[in-house]
């Protein structure tokens, strides 16, 4: 049988028995796919049912009280005097000076935490990357350590550090630094594993020590990516630092949770707007720098 029909002959017509075989095969394929979808759907449904019981989901309560949600959001924008907040910005931001200084502290916590974490992450990344690591045991230990540091939520570290160092920004910085080290260390060593090894071999061939090989052979290649990831992390850390105050670890979070707990609605919205605007500005700024860095990195 020829697979390609000459153009002059009429189009290939399959006889009914052959067509039936193909049709059956097609139906089987569709059926298998459908069974798979049903299986996934059943698994998800069972998961939802079990989770709903465990998480005490109560739709009745949600629907009878849903008006409380909208009225809560509504009250956020009403001053004590009953006016809407934007009619009297001075009254809305009565505590602007205090909030700005707390916001400054939050940014400083995020900055110092990011810097400490990134510095430690850079060192650990070169120990953990399989192509430049000095020893396989060092590599394995470093990787497990980074994993532990990034798996654990920062707020839990902060809670423990508050016990050790007392209330204040110090435990917040340390918690952010440890988590940042874990998260950036992983991203960094993945970057290092993707570098061009020829410069590294060149420096090693001159008899240079391990720090010199890393500094001269590997570091210049990875710097733009490192800076880019660090900037991204800084933005995340500003968000994290803004809730560190919830557990007494400094920053604007302590005033935020106090306002929420004591139902100072206008203050809640004032602080939230401050945080959202700050994070958006940092997001915008770091993204522009990152794009320039990445463009410079790819064109070089």
């Amino acid at each position: 049988m020829t697979l390609v029909q000459p153009l002059s002959s009429p189009p290939l017509k399959l006889d009914t028995p052959r067509l039936a075989v193909l049709h059956e095969a097609y139906r089987d394929a569709v059926r298998a796919k459908r069974w798979r979808s049903v299986l996934i759907a059943v698994c998800v449904a069972v998961g939802i049912a079990v989770s709903a019981v465990s998480a005490e989901v109560d739709l009745g309560k949600l629907f009878t009280n849903i008006d409380k949600f909208s009225s809560y959001i509504g009250r956020l924008f009403v001053l004590e005097s009953g006016q809407m907040v934007w009619t009297d910005p001075v009254e809305w931001y009565w505590g602007l000076q205090r909030w700005l200084s707390l916001l400054g502290e939050t940014l400083l916590i995020a900055y110092v935490g990011t810097a400490l974490g990134a510095a430690a992450g850079i060192v650990l990344a070169f120990l953990a990357a399989s192509n430049v690591s000095p020893h396989p045991v060092v590599r394995a230990v470093t990787r497990r350590y980074l994993e532990f540091c990034r798996t654990f939520p920062q707020l839990v570290f902060a809670l423990i550090f508050v016990i050790a160092f007392g209330l204040g920004p110090l435990p917040g910085v340390l918690a952010i630094a440890i988590h940042t080290m874990g998260a950036l260390g992983k991203l960094f060593f993945e970057v290092v594993e993707n570098i061009d090894m020829k410069p590294v071999e060149g420096v090693a061939a001159t008899g240079a020590s391990w720090p010199a090989v890393v500094r001269i052979g590997a570091f210049p290649q990875v710097l733009p990516n490192f800076v880019s990831y660090t900037l991204l992390r800084f933005e995340i850390n500003v968000r994290e630092a803004s809730v560190m105050g919830f557990v007494g670890a400094g920053g604007i979070g302590q005033d935020l949770i106090e306002a929420i707990r004591k139902f100072y609605y206008a203050d809640v919205s004032a602080i939230l707007v401050l945080i959202i605007v700050t994070v958006a500005l940092i997001d915008f700024g770091t993204e522009r720098i990152r794009h320039r860095l990445i463009d410079a990195g790819t064109s070089a």
């Binding site: 939802i48 709903a52 998480a55 005490e56 204040g168 968000r239």
Partner: protein
Amino acid sequence: MSTTVEAMRRRYPDVFVPAWRRNRAMLAVLAGLVALFIYGLAALGFLHPRMIDGLGKLASVFVMMLPPDPGSVDRAIIYLKALGETLAIAFLGTLLGAALAFPLGFLAARNATIGRVVRFLTRRSLDTLRGVDVLVWALIWINVVGLGPFAGVLAVMTSDIGSFGKLFSEAIEAADKRPVEGVLSTGGGGPHRVRFGILPEVLPVMASQVLYFIESNTRSASIIGIVGAGGIGLHLAEQIRVLEFQHVAFIIILVLIAVAAIDWLSTRLRLGLIGTRRVATA
């Protein structure tokens, strides 16, 4: 013709200037950053004697954590139940968030939206949802449905709508144009375009993002109890406050195992869904 280093240095003095001296602006920025860092260390209490004290206390806290021990079987069962609650919060919150973000993702995507004003408004609302921390959402939902894990589910859901909406819209915008053109060329309308041109391509990406978020939400769900919204965070914060560090260590190990298990499972499922293709997250 002499090619000694000295001769080259005389001929091309610019090339021999150290790199840092060529880039004064960068140097100034770096100096500023270092100065800010040192100021930060001083202002935040790193140079205070309390720092040394604290390190000693931290060491004793770690000693007190050993060996990890829940105290009694009853406590262990309570902690395991709370861990189950945490997983339930993460699972339900992520699914609900994804379900609600699904239509919003289309409204926020340039190639699938129904109008520029709609797209702008959707994007700004998603930004706001994302900008408020999940702990704040938890505190707000506690006012609506009371203390407990249900508030945690709703909080994770609310903050995930923002994240998923953004990620979904980016996935839709990155979709290949040609299937859509194909559908339009056969006379398909708006709904057909989305159903047959865009959906088959973006659905696996979305599913993989949902799986990734279930894992990262397990972490957020494990702290959401600190403000009273259910899960193991409540016990964790309580045991830290009463200085029962052996219990704390036990809970920490439980959470680590749970996160590692979810991580393994979600990575396997994601690879099954999309092969080894990397998916944008965060």
